[in-house]
């Protein structure tokens, strides 16, 4: 076997060259798609490539991106979460009620984050303990969390203004949502960047992410290998719930108000971006970088179509087609 081992190391060395790694990366296809879109919109509109517009794109995708990082973990673990839009809404409504009742802003935010994470844990417990499929559990949670949001604030719009919220930190909170660093980079996108980095560390470097891939790849084998499938899945749902609340909080700073309908329908975009990024609904496959590219692709496509004056209805048709097309291409390349 001596020679084979030497050969092995040889091929390994050749394979792990940076360029080779880049080219064989699963994300290369979708990345090429993104580049093509950017070139196309740069040529067909005069505004697309301006700093202003690009920063706009980056800002527009931030909330979507924050949630998609969590969704990547859930989908890789072999599950799905349809409740993210509602958990987002329920968390910010709870936050706004606490704020307007005189609780300090930071305390209210922490409470909202905890609420989001708790909703995630409940999802995870129901899926793993009661063995109800995630599609059903999170569809139920989608309704329940939205219902709770409606019950709490009675369908009202709560403006986040100094007259209602006495905490002097309100300005700082609004800035996190709306501000621009050096008048260029949106603060919201800095938050997204932080989530990306943390997500990358947890998912791609930490044992938790390693286990998510194992559990999503083959839950039975994971169990036989002594991995607690239950804990891993609950962790994925909890992170998802936490990030849904986090995205909601940042966005309500941007909007300056909270509605009980906040985040409605967001789940579809989040899942679409994650799948575009290469995560497989069968579990086990998906990367944070891929998801980032998926999120950007969705954002660039929307922005570019708007700049070209394409009607929002036609946009919906095109985005749907892109999603199906991208997955079809991915399936074909995987078959080979």
């Amino acid at each position: 076997m001596g020679t084979t081992v030497a050969e092995n190391q040889d091929t390994e060395a050749r394979r792990s060259g940076p360029l080779a790694n880049l080219l064989k990366a699963k994300e290369i296809g979708i990345f090429a798609g993104l580049v093509i879109l950017v070139i196309f919109f740069s040529l067909s509109t005069s505004v697309f490539l301006s700093v202003d517009n690009l920063m706009n794109v980056v800002r527009q995708v931030s909330i979507l991106g924050i949630l998609a990082v969590g969704m990547t973990m859930v989908i890789v673990s072999g599950e799905i979460d349809l409740s993210v839009g509602s958990v987002y809404g329920m968390s910010v409504v709870a936050m706004s009620v606490l704020m307007t009742h005189g609780l300090p802003i930071w305390t209210s935010i922490l409470a909202a984050l905890a609420l989001g994470a708790t909703a995630g844990v409940v999802n995870g417990l129901l899926v793993t303990r009661l063995r109800v499929p995630a599609l059903i559990v999170t569809l139920g949670m989608l309704n329940m969390a939205r219902g709770v949001a409606m019950i709490i604030n009675g369908g009202m719009v709560v403006p986040l203004i100094p007259r209602l919220i006495k905490d002097p930190a309100l300005d700082a909170f609004i800035f996190i949502g709306r501000g621009r660093i050096m008048d260029v980079v949106p603060t919201m996108s800095i938050a997204f960047l932080l989530v990306l980095i943390l997500g990358f560390i947890i998912y791609q470097k930490n044992i938790l992410g390693y286990r998510m891939r194992a559990v999503g790849g083959n839950p039975e084998a994971a169990r036989v290998s002594g991995i607690s499938v239950t804990m891993v899945k609950i962790a994925a749902f909890a992170i998802m719930g936490f990030l849904a609340a986090f995205g909601g909080i940042i966005n309500s700073g941007f909007l300056g108000n909270v509605q009980s309908t906040a985040g409605q329908g967001l789940e579809l975009d989040v899942i679409a971006a994650t799948i575009l990024g290469g995560a497989s609904l069968n579990g086990g496959e998906g990367t944070i970088v891929g998801t980032l590219i998926g999120v950007l692709l969705l954002g660039v496509l929307r922005n570019g179509l708007v700049l070209m004056g394409v009607s929002p209805f036609v946009q919906m048709v095109l985005i749907g087609a892109v999603l199906i097309g991208a997955v079809a291409l991915d399936m074909r390349s995987r078959k080979k």
């Binding site: 076997m1 084979t4 081992v5 092995n8 091929t11 390994e12 394979r15 560390i201 470097k205 930490n206 044992i207 938790l208 992410g209 390693y210 891939r213 194992a214 999503g216 790849g217 083959n218 039975e220 084998a221 994971a222 169990r223 036989v224 290998s225 002594g226 991995i227 607690s228 579990g283 086990g284 496959e285």
Partner: protein, 503 residues
């Protein structure tokens, strides 16, 4: 005899692989023809070409003198070439009758003619001599009966050539016998049967002729009556491997080693009752029994996957109660599961991760995964078990069955277990890999003093390799054989419900 099927210079290349090279031979009408060869010898590729999954790169197949030119499975089916794959292809959510008539439902003026379908299906199943209700959901049938349903489905299609890929790998001896009786009956009606199996003793019982493939090349066709399993094995392997499998001198461990595991009165539900045995260090204890005898369930319970209803387990003299595989691994148990694909492999991961995934502290620093440590563990076991991989970064799904099994064994050994539980470790892997796995087992018990429990349906292996054999029958221990008592007949006697005293 007239040739119904002729392979004429069939070759098939895949990117980078030459799967078949100039294969020419023929199948006669009304014969049972075995195609033998190691995994990767090209048997499956040849069968896939025949059943229309893909076209040959060159060469042709003549069916009743006419060239088969299509490459789609439906066309092959309608010509009368049916395949029963090792992994059965039934709709588990549908009933037996629905499966048998899937896509070919009978209709009358009033719509689907269920009455006629049930009547015909009933007749068909009766001819197999089994009691299967046509209204049962396939999901609720044991594997052996599912296979009968699949064969019934194939027969129901006016089949002229029936291809059976490893049909006996999940059958018990009794079920195999029933299957063989049926195959002989089909042969009488003029059907040709192509049989693929690793179990040469069975092959010789049923087959008329044997064609051997090695590394994609055709080595010849032999009449079963004029050759021996030994000759065929040396052809298949290209060297004298038989010695490794059954010929070695038995190294039966004495009874002076200390007891590593003791089980007293263990029971769980309908699966097994009152199971007691002990396992010594450096001992290989075989667990034999027919399908449904409760072997797999017993192993899973010992490994903490289920709690027993009653009974005690002692590890090194101390009573233990395992509530999860995690706990079992920590206590020094390792399980090689029965179903490699379903419970063993992470097909989304590469070789190194498949080996290292069982660890936590050994592959992390402050909970962060260290690739360097993963590689070190993987390399150690790739080398130790001679796993044939191009690199530790190779995806496991591209490995042969034997090498996949070695990856799983490597994973289990990497936790340095003291008790090794192996459920059908050689199922569906080729002769060479089997011999290697037994070599590894011998080394583990001999040099490392591991206590090994092995569940196997391969009677030859059990008889040849185990120090003692515990035989189960309908959830109970019907006897434990040791030393010279371990014979084919002795084991089978117990497996069919006999007792030691009457033996």
């Amino acid at each position: 005899m007239k040739d119904i099927l002729v392979f004429n210079g069939v070759s098939k290349t895949f990117p980078g692989v030459r799967a078949l090279e100039d294969v020419s031979f023929s199948i006669a009408k009304g014969e049972i023809h075995t195609i033998a060869g190691e995994n990767g010898a090209g048997k499956s590729t040849l069968m896939k070409i025949l059943s229309g999954w893909y076209p040959p790169s060159s060469g042709e197949i003549l069916f009743k003198g006419k060239r088969i030119s299509t490459s789609n499975p439906e066309a092959a089916l309608s010509m009368g070439i049916s395949t029963v794959y090792q992994e059965l292809m039934l709709c588990e959510n549908m009933t037996v009758v629905e499966n048998i008539y899937l896509g070919r439902e009978l209709s009358s003026r009033k719509g689907i003619d269920w009455k006629a379908m049930h009547r015909h299906a009933r007749k068909l199943l009766d001819s197999f001599g089994v009691e299967i209700s046509t209204r049962t959901l396939v999901r609720n049938l044991p594997i052996a009966q599912r296979q009968i349903v699949e064969i019934a489905k194939a027969i129901n299609m006016k089949t002229e050539i029936l291809i059976l890929d490893e049909p006996t790998s999940s059958l018990t001896i009794n079920e195999t016998r029933v299957l063989f009786e049926n195959l002989r009956r089909f042969r009488e009606t003029g059907m040709s049967i192509i049989f693929i199996s690793h179990r040469l003793d069975e092959v010789f019982e049923i087959t008329d002729r044997i064609s051997v493939l090695r590394d994609g090349r055709y080595l010849g066709t032999f009449a079963a009556a004029e050759t021996t399993p030994r000759d065929i094995i040396s052809l298949i392997a290209g060297k004298e491997l038989l010695q490794e499998i059954v010929g070695t001198e038995k190294l039966r461990t004495g009874s002076d080693a200390e007891i590593a595991l003791e089980v007293r009165g263990l029971a769980r539900g309908k699966y097994f009752q009152d199971v007691s045995f002990s396992l010594r260090r450096g001992e290989l204890l075989g667990i034999y029994g027919l399908q449904g005898a409760g072997r797999t369930e017993l192993m899973q319970t010992l490994f903490g996957m289920y709690l027993p209803d009653a009974g005690e387990v002692f590890l090194d003299g101390k009573a233990i109660r395992l509530r999860s595989p995690r706990e079992a691994i920590r206590k020094g148990f390792a399980l090689i599961p029965e179903d490699r694909r379903k419970e063993g492999l992470f097909s989304n991961m590469d070789v190194k991760d498949n080996i290292a995934v069982i660890h936590d502290r050994r592959i992390t620093v402050a909970s962060f995964v260290q690739n360097r440590k993963i590689l070190a563990i993987a390399r150690e076991y790739v080398e130790k078990l001679s796993i044939k991989v191009t690199s530790p970064f190779q995806r496991v799904r591209n490995l042969s069955g034997g090498n996949q099994q070695k990856v799983i064994i490597g994973r289990s050994l990497s936790t340095s277990p003291r008790i090794l539980i192996m459920d059908e470790p050689t199922r569906g892997i080729d002769v060479g890999a089997k011999a290697e796995i037994y070599k590894i087992l011998r080394k583990l018990k001999g040099e490392e003093g591991k206590a090994i429990l092995i569940v196997s349906s391969e009677l030859e292996e059990v008889v040849a390799e185990c120090d003692r054999v515990l035989v189960m029958f309908q959830g109970r221990v019907s006897g434990v054989l040791s030393g010279a008592q371990i014979t084919r007949e002795g084991v089978l006697h117990l497996a069919f419900g006999g007792s030691i005293s009457s033996n």
